[in-house]
Structure formats: structure tokens, C-alpha cells
């Protein structure tokens, strides 16, 4: 199968790779960019373990060809920790025991990152609806729900603590 050159921008960094047209974004991130934090759980778009953010939207990277993502801003779980400091979402997941085996965790983090960073006011039903995009076999979701709620609150607190001029 013929490989074709491809320029991806992942977590703000350029990656020049060569892949077959049929290669998924998930496999390309993992095998060609060395970003193995994105996991492949079902390869048919149901489990959401491979969720990444493309152009600000959470997408299943197993349902997207890498070549379709050329020129777009891609964010993966590796972008969350900044200079050794965990993202509030990661902190909340650790604090509320919202992960066990951790295989689905990067997908959940990238799924809800947008809602957390926008400080969305989600009802319980809305939050459950959002989280029902992805599957977890370990936690029973209750602690994930708690963690996301806590992260939304913390993010809002942090944002409001920043002086007006600095925003």
C-alpha cells in the first residue's frame, strides 16, 4: 500500500509523516507521532477510548482518516499536563478515583475538556448524556461524574480568581 506525505499539527507541534490513505487518525497518532496516550478500544466508533479534540471538537480518532485531519489543530491527552502541572480535570479524576485501569481515561478527558474549560452549567442529565458518548468498564461512571463536576467548579473558581486585566 502506497504511503503519502502528511503534515499534522498535534498539541501545537508539527509532525511530518507518511501514511496510507486508509490509516486512521488514531493509528497515525500512536504509531507515526509516538503519541500512545490515545487508545484504541473498539475501532468502530462506539467506545470513545480514542477521543481526541480536532478543531475544538471531540472526535473519534478511529473514525477519521489521518489525511482528513491535515491542516487541522489536533489535541491529545498529552497536551493536558503543562510543565509538570496536571490539568484540573486530571487532578479531579485522581482525587475522585475516576479511573481504574486507565485505558478509557484519555478519551473521557478529551471528551469533557471543552465543557470543563467553558465552565458549562450542565444539569445531571446533560452531564450523563455527554459522558454516555464513551464507555468505561471499570468505574461504573459515578466517580467520573463526580470528577467532571468538581473540575468544572474548580475551573470556574480559577478563572474568576484571575484579575480582570489579566484575562
Amino acid at each position: 500500500m502506497e504511503r503519502h506525505p502528511l503534515n499534522l499539527t498535534v498539541n501545537g507541534k508539527p509532525y511530518a509523516v507518511e501514511t496510507e490513505f486508509r490509516k486512521t487518525l488514531a493509528d497515525t497518532l500512536r504509531e507515526d507521532c509516538g503519541l500512545t496516550g490515545t487508545h484504541v478500544g473498539c475501532e468502530h466508533g462506539v467506545c470513545g477510548a480514542c477521543t481526541v479534540v480536532v478543531e475544538g471538537k471531540a472526535v473519534r480518532s478511529c473514525l477519521m482518516f489521518a489525511h482528513q485531519a491535515e491542516g487541522m489543530e489536533i489535541e491529545t491527552v498529552e497536551s493536558l499536563e503543562k510543565e509538570g502541572e496536571l490539568h484540573v480535570l486530571q487532578e479531579a479524576f485522581a482525587e475522585h478515583h475516576a479511573l481504574q485501569c486507565g485505558f478509557c481515561t484519555p478519551g473521557f478527558l478529551m471528551l469533557v475538556k471543552g465543557a470543563v474549560e467553558r465552565g458549562e452549567e450542565l444539569s445531571d442529565a446533560e452531564l450523563r448524556h455527554l459522558l454516555s458518548s464513551n464507555l468505561c468498564r471499570c468505574t461504573g461512571y459515578q466517580n467520573i461524574i463526580r470528577a467532571v463536576r468538581a473540575a468544572i467548579d474548580t475551573f470556574k473558581e480559577k478563572a474568576s480568581a484571575v484579575p480582570e486585566a489579566a484575562r
Binding site: 500512536r30 500512545t36 475501532e43 467506545c47 479511573l99 461504573g140 467520573i144
Partner: protein
């Protein structure tokens, strides 16, 4: 002994989490050694067929394809064609061990037939599809009851029947119990459990010997020691010539405790071609080639006194074994002994038939036969309560084993021959806590009010006893290293439960409380005898060894410090990874210095210790199992017109002895309950009459998502186990065991106006709707 900083019993954060949260976990498929090739398996599309030739030409001509190997190609490199992994049992009369690759007959869809090696997985899969295999389809056995008919086709051509084993349990005078019983209740049950569905499937990476002459195998397995033993036996390797390791596991839940043909075949092929090879299971393969639990068919009778006391219980169980023996009789055995455990039953007789079918082999899923047993026993009690006209909670309270009976010896034996002894707990009190938390007494008012609005609410309960801490031992070594850092090494295997955190907490409790100074290495196969992760065992058996090893190292640490500080060990304490003289500022020595001193100097006496080094390796042997218990209460709303069941509330009151980490206990229970809700309502592995699996995607086989989970309330009680120094019991499977029967009880209660009887799981909308229609419901 004073503990400087308590970690045992605390809801501390997990030591595993940081790497997993930042994308730095290392799961099997994250290991990408240079030059590694990909493996795909060609798998049988038939449930039963014979074949004679595999034409490889077209596949080998495809781009990127390196090799194709059949059984004939691998056989010269194997000591045995078949992988013998079943636990021994005299009751097994048919020998059906799995071939590494199919030889001339395939007996289930998904059975591996050939191994394809290519530069990448996609190329390997393309080539696997291009293999031309001359299958001749044979008659299929797709139903485990029909499999027992005298004229049934056989699962294997080489056998003339399908009954792998018949055995039974019997105690007390069952006939007498039924002869003059006030009430006799009869029910038949069809209890299905599906597949494990760890989010990460199985996988194996084999790297041929390089500079060190050692073959390296990595596998996403719960039992690396067993895998190492099998690889040595199958490939004729010296244990010193192979290293078996586990990366991070993306879940296990049972099926990864079995050694599989793919692990042997991939390793054999890597040795044959001298290149690193990796096989990673995809989701479809997980559905067709990873062990499942599937079907049990029960016919049961219960005899009762007029007041509701159980006189006796008898019946028969037919257990679907699948096409090969992947583990043995442990699931039907576990089901059979679990049925009467929570209750005082003086007479019990169960006949078990373990039956082959042309389906993927059955091996334990979370619960391993216990959820089915709880389903049967709890449904029988509901039926009895209805017959007698008692409250469902009262008949249970009347029959539950009481606290004053503990330890309670049951006239049943574990598979190893030791008696089952319920070791501690107050089962009626636990039930009372659950009922109270769930508002059981007030429920009829809620139900009545809802019914007035045309809504059908129901409440149900189920008790369980979980056998945990399967012995005999697990090795744990604790060492204060020369750097001052504490290394804990164990054969216990992690699969996401927090095993490292659990062991670090137990060790830190004795060694100063700084978990950040502890490294835990699980799944060790070099120096640690043991078994790995299954049967809710590791907190009990590895925990006991870790505690003993840590206590010994603590003594040594204090002895060395006492010698160097010229003090009495009783006057010392551990503070911030140093040993300090109590109340004397500045008189302390860091762990690193003490570890260095403990190694000794040429010509000098060891400081205060008889053996060098601050280390201890322990194997606390515990033969008896310790029994956790609990009660689940579910509240549901059922729409009789559509059959939809909505969970409104769920309570689990439980007792798993002393808890090492309550937050992790909650996590285990919540996950177990989610799995149990799946078993109650959604998860069904469907096969057609030709043995073709029809549910091979996550769009067909439904896992519970956040949207279906009700609020879950957990009530902890702690009755320490007398069987180990820490008083701990296992909890990994507790949540799953009572969940389906509690929900079934609630659904039946909700549909009581229609007179519906619930006798199967899962309760799909179709099943519920059919039950309503059959009961003559007009809705």
C-alpha cells in the same frame, strides 16, 4: 507498635494514576520495539467444520506480508499440539484442550487457524482474508440443553457425546425435607452472562533473544507466571531463557487469567523468524475468541416450613462450557457451592452437567459463577415469599446465617478439598442496613402513589456471599534499597484495581507512611512464586505477605538504627524516611544510610542484624477463603407497554472486612454493580442456530453507559476476617453478584399487578414485554 503516619484504611490517592492520566501509561500496544512486525490471525468463520489445506499463495504475494504459518509450520517448534490449561478434576471425562492453531477441525467461530506476519496490522489482516482454506461445514451444537439429547450432533468429531462432566453436591436428607414440607416452590431459570469487554483486549509481544540471550514476552494477562510456565513447557524453554512481563493492563475482569493459543503461537512464530512480533486483539476478536461466561440453565425446587424456614433445596444445572476447556469446572463448581451459602439450609442436592457447545470457550468473568448462583437462590426466595405470603425481606432475615453462628462451617468443600467456613460478618444486620438506606418500609406508599399515576414502580433485594482470597499464597518482597527508596516486588498482577496502591499502603503503614517513597512492581515472574490476579484474592493473599514482609523490614530497620544510634529500638520512630530517636532533635539516620550499613563492610560485624540487607520476602499461606457479604436493593420503574426498565435507585450494604482504602473499595463495588446492571438488563451474547455470533460489535452488545447508571449508595460495614493479620477480605467481584437478582426482584415487584414471573437474565425490553403478554397483561 505505633504507626508514624497511617496509610492503612485511608482513602489515599492511587500511585498508579499520574502516568495513566497524562498519557504515559504503557499498555501492550504502546510497546513498539524497533523492527517489530504485526500478527493477525485467520479465524474460523464456521462454528464447526473440517479442513485439509490452507492455500497461502495469494496471501504471501501481497505487499508487506512476511510469512504465513499454519499448525503444520509451528508444530516442529512445539512440544505439544495442544495447550493444557484446565484445572484438574476427576469429573472431566472428555479431553478437549485447545490446539495452538487448528489442526484439521474448527469447533467455534473465531478459532485461530493460521497466523499471518506482515509489516503492519492492516497488511496482515488483508492477507489473512486472502487465505484459501477448504472448510467443509459440519453439524453444529449451538444449544447446551439440546446438546445432551442422544441424537445430538457432537461438538468434536472425535467424541460421541457432549457431556464434558457430570458431578453433584449433596448434603442432608433432601428427600425427607421435601416429603413433609408445608410448601414446595418450583422454578426454572435461564441465566446468561455475556463477555468481559475489558476496554483493552488481549495482546502479546514477543522479542527473540538479543544480547542477553533471553526471550522477552509481554502480555496483557492477569497471570504472567502461568503464561511463563506454559511457554516453557510448550516451547521447551529453560525458565532462565525467558522473561515474561505485564505492561499496564486495560482491564481484565477474568478472561485474561487464562493462557491463550495466540500467546503461544505468536511467541513460537517470533522465535521461528527471529523478529519481534506483536499481536493485539481487536474488538471483534474479543467477541469471538476471548473466553465468555454465557449460559446456565437451572431447574430448582425449594421445600419450606409453614413459617418460611427453608427445609431443603434441590435441582439440576446445565452449564455451557463452550468448545474447549479453557479453565476447567470452576464456574459451575462455584455456582453450585454458592447457591446455599448465605442461608441456613440443612438439605441440598444439585446435579451439574457441564456441556460442550460449538461456541467460544467459557472461563471466568467477574463473579465466576457466583452471580448466577445468587440469581437462582434469590429468585427462589422471592417465589417462596410470594407462595407463603411473606415479605421478601422477612423470609431472608429468617433464613440468613446469623452473626452468632460465625465462624459457620458449611457442609461443602472448596475445589481443593478444604471445608467452606463463613469466617465473619453479620448478614441480617447488613440486610437491615440496606433496607433502611433504600427506604424499603416506606416503598409501598411510593409504589401506590405512582400506580395511581399509571407508573409501575418496583423494589427488590438480593443477598450475596462472595468467596474471596483464593489461596494458597502470593509472594511479596519488601526491600529498603541502597538509595533509601522502598521496593515492593510481587507476583500479584495488576489489571486496574489499584493493586500497587493497596500494597504501598500496607507497606507504608509499617515503614513511615510515605507512599511516594515506594515503588511497587507487580506481575513479577523472576523471583516471586505465585499466581496472579483473579478471584478477589490479591488484597488478601498478597496483602498478608506484604504486611508480614513490611513488619520484618521494619524490625531490621529499627535494629540497624538502634545499633548505629546506640539506642534502644523501642525508643526509635520512623519519620520522613529516616529512623529517629523519639523526642531528640537531630538524632536520626536516613533510610539510605541504614540500607547501606545493613549491607555490611568487609571485616566488620553486621549492625544489629543477623542477615545482611533491609529486605524480606514472604509467602503467607492461607488455604481457607474469606467470605465477604452484602445486600443489594434496587428500585425500578417498568413500562409494561414497552418492557423498558429504568433504574431509579440502587443500594449496596456490604462487608468486606477491614478496608485498606475505602475509596478504592467504592470503586470496585461501583464497577461491579455497573457490570451487574449490564447482566441484568443489557448484555447478551447472541448466537444463531448455526453457532454464528450475532453480537460482535459494541453497537450490538450493549455495555452500560453513564446514562443508564442510577445513583448508587454504598454502606460499608467491617467485620475483620480472622484468617489474616490485617482482617481483610476481597471485594473485586462483590458488586456484580447481587445486582441482577436485585433488579429482577424489583422488576417482578413492579409488574406484580400483571402476575409476571421473572426467571431469566438479561431482561431485555423484549423479554419483559413477552413476560407481561404471557401473564395475560392487557397493557
Amino acid at each position: 507498635m505505633r504507626n508514624e503516619k497511617a496509610t492503612f484504611g485511608q482513602s489515599v490517592r492511587r500511585v498508579e494514576d499520574r502516568a495513566l492520566l497524562t498519557g504515559k501509561g504503557r499498555y501492550l500496544d504502546d510497546l513498539q520495539p524497533p523492527g517489530c512486525l504485526s500478527v493477525a490471525f485467520a479465524r474460523s468463520p464456521y462454528a464447526h467444520a473440517s479442513f485439509t489445506t490452507i492455500d497461502k499463495d495469494a496471501a504471501l504475494a501481497m505487499p508487506g506480508v512476511i510469512a504465513v504459518m499454519s499448525h503444520a509450520d509451528l508444530a516442529p517448534h512445539l512440544r505439544n499440539d495442544r495447550l493444557v490449561v484446565g484445572l484438574p478434576s476427576a469429573a472431566i471425562t472428555l479431553k478437549v484442550d485447545r490446539p495452538v492453531l487448528a489442526i484439521d477441525e474448527v469447533v467455534h467461530v473465531g478459532e485461530p487457524v493460521a497466523l499471518v506476519i506482515a509489516e503492519n496490522r492492516a497488511a496482515a489482516e488483508d492477507a489473512a482474508e486472502a487465505l484459501d482454506i477448504d472448510y467443509e461445514p459440519l453439524d453444529v451444537v449451538s444449544d447446551c440443553r439440546a446438546a445432551l439429547e442422544p441424537d445430538s450432533p457432537t461438538v468434536h468429531q472425535s467424541h460421541d457425546h457432549n457431556c464434558l462432566a457430570s458431578f453433584g453436591f449433596s448434603f442432608g436428607d433432601v428427600d425427607q425435607a421435601f416429603a413433609d414440607a408445608a410448601h414446595i416452590v418450583r422454578r426454572s431459570f435461564d441465566v446468561h452472562r455475556g463477555a468481559a469487554m475489558s476496554l483493552e483486549g488481549r495482546g502479546v509481544l514477543a522479542v527473540p533473544p538479543d544480547l542477553d540471550g533471553v526471550l522477552s514476552v509481554w502480555s496483557s494477562t492477569q497471570t504472567p507466571q502461568a503464561l511463563k510456565t506454559q511457554l516453557c513447557q510448550m516451547l521447551g524453554l529453560d525458565p532462565l531463557g525467558i522473561k515474561v512481563r505485564t505492561p499496564d493492563l486495560g482491564g481484565g475482569f477474568g478472561p485474561k487469567l487464562v493462557t491463550y493459543p495466540e500467546e503461544i503461537a505468536t511467541t513460537a512464530a517470533a522465535l521461528k523468524i527471529g523478529r519481534p512480533l506483536k499481536w493485539v486483539e481487536d474488538r471483534r476478536e474479543h467477541f469471538v475468541a476471548t473466553a465468555q461466561e454465557r449460559d446456565q440453565l437451572w431447574d430448582m425446587e425449594m421445600a419450606l416450613e409453614a413459617d418460611g424456614r427453608i427445609r431443603g433445596l434441590r435441582g439440576a444445572l446445565i452449564h455451557d462450557h463452550g468448545a474447549y476447556t479453557a479453565r476447567g469446572l470452576n464456574i459451575p463448581y462455584g455456582s453450585a457451592v454458592t447457591v446455599p451459602l448465605p442461608y441456613n439450609i440443612n438439605a441440598y442436592k444439585l446435579d451439574v452437567q457441564v456441556v460442550l457447545t460449538n461456541k467460544v470457550p467459557v472461563a471466568p468473568l467477574r463473579g465466576a459463577g457466583q452471580p448466577q448462583a445468587a440469581f437462582v437462590m434469590e429468585r427462589m426466595l422471592d417465589a417462596a415469599a410470594e407462595t407463603i405470603g411473606m415479605d421478601r425481606s422477612e423470609i431472608r432475615a429468617l433464613n440468613l446465617v446469623r452473626a452468632d453462628q460465625m465462624p459457620c462451617v458449611k457442609p461443602l468443600k472448596l475445589r481443593g478439598g478444604t471445608n467452606i467456613t463463613l469466617d465473619s460478618g453479620d448478614y441480617p444486620a447488613t440486610q437491615a442496613l440496606a433496607l433502611d438506606k433504600a427506604g424499603w418500609q416506606e416503598f409501598p406508599a411510593r409504589q401506590k402513589a405512582a400506580l395511581a399515576e399509571g407508573r409501575y414502580l418496583g423494589i427488590g433485594l438480593a443477598n450475596y456471599v462472595e468467596g474471596t482470597g483464593r489461596g494458597p499464597y502470593e509472594t511479596v518482597s519488601v526491600e529498603v534499597q541502597r538509595t533509601g527508596r522502598i521496593l515492593v516486588t510481587t507476583g500479584a498482577a495488576a489489571m486496574g484495581q489499584g493493586t500497587e496502591t493497596m500494597l504501598a499502603q500496607i507497606v507504608a503503614e509499617q515503614l513511615g507512611g510515605d507512599m511516594a517513597n515506594i515503588t511497587v512492581r507487580t506481575g513479577d515472574t523472576t523471583g516471586s512464586l505465585g499466581f496472579g490476579g483473579f478471584n478477589s484474592r490479591q488484597t488478601v493473599v498478597a496483602g498478608a505477605s506484604a504486611h508480614q514482609a513490611a513488619c520484618t523490614v521494619r524490625e531490621k530497620l529499627l535494629a540497624v538504627a538502634a545499633d548505629l544510634l546506640e539506642a534502644d529500638a523501642a525508643d526509635l520512630e520512623i519519620v520522613d524516611n529516616t529512623v529517629a530517636l523519639k523526642g531528640v532533635r537531630g538524632r536520626h539516620l536516613p533510610f539510605a544510610d541504614l540500607a547501606g550499613a545493613a549491607l555490611g563492610l568487609p571485616g566488620f560485624k553486621l549492625p544489629g542484624i543477623k542477615q545482611p540487607g533491609l529486605l524480606s520476602s514472604d509467602q503467607v499461606v492461607i488455604d481457607d477463603m474469606t467470605y465477604s457479604n452484602g445486600t443489594a436493593v434496587a428500585e425500578v420503574e417498568v413500562d409494561p407497554r414497552t418492557g423498558q426498565v429504568c433504574l431509579l435507585n440502587f443500594v449496596l450494604a456490604h462487608d468486606c472486612g477491614r478496608m485498606v482504602n475505602p475509596k478504592l473499595v467504592d470503586g470496585q463495588i461501583l464497577g461491579g454493580i455497573a457490570h451487574g446492571i449490564g447482566n441484568a438488563l443489557y448484555e447478551q451474547m447472541v448466537f444463531d442456530e448455526d453457532g454464528q455470533p450475532l453480537t460482535t460489535t459494541l453497537a450490538d452488545y450493549l455495555l452500560v453507559s453513564a446514562a443508564e447508571m442510577p445513583q448508587i449508595h454504598i454502606v460499608h460495614t467491617e467485620s475483620p476476617s480472622p484468617l489474616n493479620a490485617l482482617g481483610v477480605k476481597g471485594v473485586g467481584e462483590s458488586g456484580v453478584i447481587p445486582t441482577a437478582p436485585a433488579i429482577a426482584s424489583a422488576v417482578e415487584n413492579a409488574l406484580a399487578p400483571f402476575g409476571v414471573s421473572i426467571t431469566s437474565a438479561p431482561l431485555s425490553p423484549q423479554t419483559v414485554r413477552r413476560a407481561v403478554r404471557q401473564a395475560g397483561g392487557a397493557a
